[in-house]
Amino acid sequence: MSVPDPLLVEELSTSPFAAGWPHRIVSEVVPISRQVLYPAGSIIFEQNAVNRDLFLICSGLVGLDMRVPARGNVRILTLAGGELLAWSALLGDGQMTATATALEPVRAIAIDGSRLSDLCQHRPDIGFHVMTRLAESLSHRLTATRLQLLDLYSHTTPHVLTFGAREH
């Protein structure tokens, strides 16, 4: 295990994910984390592929696309700095539900999902902090998705009759 990158420690501890955590917990997570960079246009992971990393986006925009039969790739969400990506790496079996593409140069912290999971399992204090932040993030995501579902800007076009229209 290499010496912790001080920049990584700084980045992680000021991120919304780990902000406010006790140092001892951050320092447990740092060793299983690494900085990653994705050039614009590159694919971070593919739908249905297995990905073992949980990403904490530091900067840049990531598009999440889902394949829909007959419609191709549909972008369902974009994520940006401060947001979590690929939570299935921690909660699921690592199979990704969407394809993530870097729409801009993306800088992120990748946390090894299986080791984080182990850590959470053995260290309930770490588990509590990680899962709380994950739950918050998911809760926001769920609210946002609900708002999207509400289709707030749609409106039914009134029945317009076009014959005999007269100028006023």
Partner: protein, 291 residues
């Protein structure tokens, strides 16, 4: 170069008959997005044109004789002296009929009415404008005002959400606004092919923003009620005080002069106490379904 700020004009003399409209002519119709167009209106009577002033956030009653009247926010530059822009979406009888008119046609206009956006309260502060859909129209006069006196305000951010990229209002002006020192971000609920920008709802843009001085940040929100609700929640979570949050509300508007009773929202009349409210003034009533 700065021009003078928009000061509250001396209240125009109360008309003898508050229902009486002035005749305005459609000078130009600018198609914006699907079913939305901006109508540039000019008073036929030049003496009225000379005295007519409005403040950002106020609305006019546009009247099509035989069809009816509708409240439309003024989306013009508050310094307009000849033409007053109204961005209108086809939604009901009046707007349907308006959509069939051509430049040169006349209609009635009375106003301006209602409480304006608190432009003075924005001075020296970070300003965030959040607009959803057609909600950008009532905020556009504020943008004109902020741009005209850009140095009076600190960071100015405009967050615009729409259903689709095609639903983003005034796209042709974004580059100018950005060039003039506004951080403008857009997001859509549903991406179209080729859209490379944000996908997601507009409160998420606010979530991502760095708010270095939330206490010194003013938030002006206009859009569907639910969108405003979540935007305000997000801002409150980030520490923006309720007294710095303003939003523009909507109700059935008939007289616009607090005489007909239609537009009540809790103990307020939207035509008189709104449409722009300080959030804490109506917060308890926005929560109640069917109020």
């Amino acid at each position: 170069m700065n021009s003078s700020p928009v000061t509250a004009p001396a209240r125009p003399p109360v008309p003898e008959n508050p229902w009486l409209s002035h005749t305005v002519r459609i000078e130009q119709i600018v198609p914006e997005i699907a079913e939305v167009a901006t109508y540039e209106l000019a008073f036929v009577d030049s003496t009225i044109a000379a005295t007519y002033q409005f403040q950002p956030g106020q609305f006019n009653m546009l009247y099509l004789p035989g069809v009816g009247e509708v409240a439309i926010s003024i989306s013009a530059d508050p310094r307009s002296r000849e033409r007053w822009a109204h961005t209108i979406r086809v939604a009901g009888s009046v707007t349907q009929s308006l959509a069939r008119l051509q430049p040169g046609a006349t209609l009635g206009l009375r106003g301006p009415y209602g409480n304006p956006w608190p432009v003075a309260a924005c001075e020296g502060r970070d300003v965030i404008l959040v607009a959803g859909g057609i909600g950008l129209a009532p905020l556009r006069p504020v943008i004109y005002e902020l741009l005209a006196n850009r140095n009076r305000y600190r960071k100015v951010t405009v967050l615009v959400g729409a259903r689709t990229p095609e639903g983003l209002l005034y796209p042709g002006q974004y580059a100018d606004w950005k060039a003039a020192g506004i951080d403008l971000q857009t997001t859509v609920d549903r991406a179209s092919p080729g859209w490379l920008g944000n996908v997601g709802v507009v409160p998420q843009l606010l979530d991502r923003m760095a708010l270095p001085a939330p206490q010194e940040t003013v938030l002006l929100v206009c859009g569907p009620e639910v969108m405003m609700h979540f935007t305000v929640k997000s801002a409150q979570r980030r520490g923006v005080p309720v007294e710095n949050i303003w939003l523009s509300s909507e109700r059935n508007m008939q007289c616009a002069v607090r005489l007909c009773g239609h537009c009540q929202l809790g103990p307020t009349f939207v035509c008189k106490d709104g449409p722009v409210y300080r959030f804490d003034q109506i917060a308890p009533f926005l929560k109640v379904e069917g109020l």
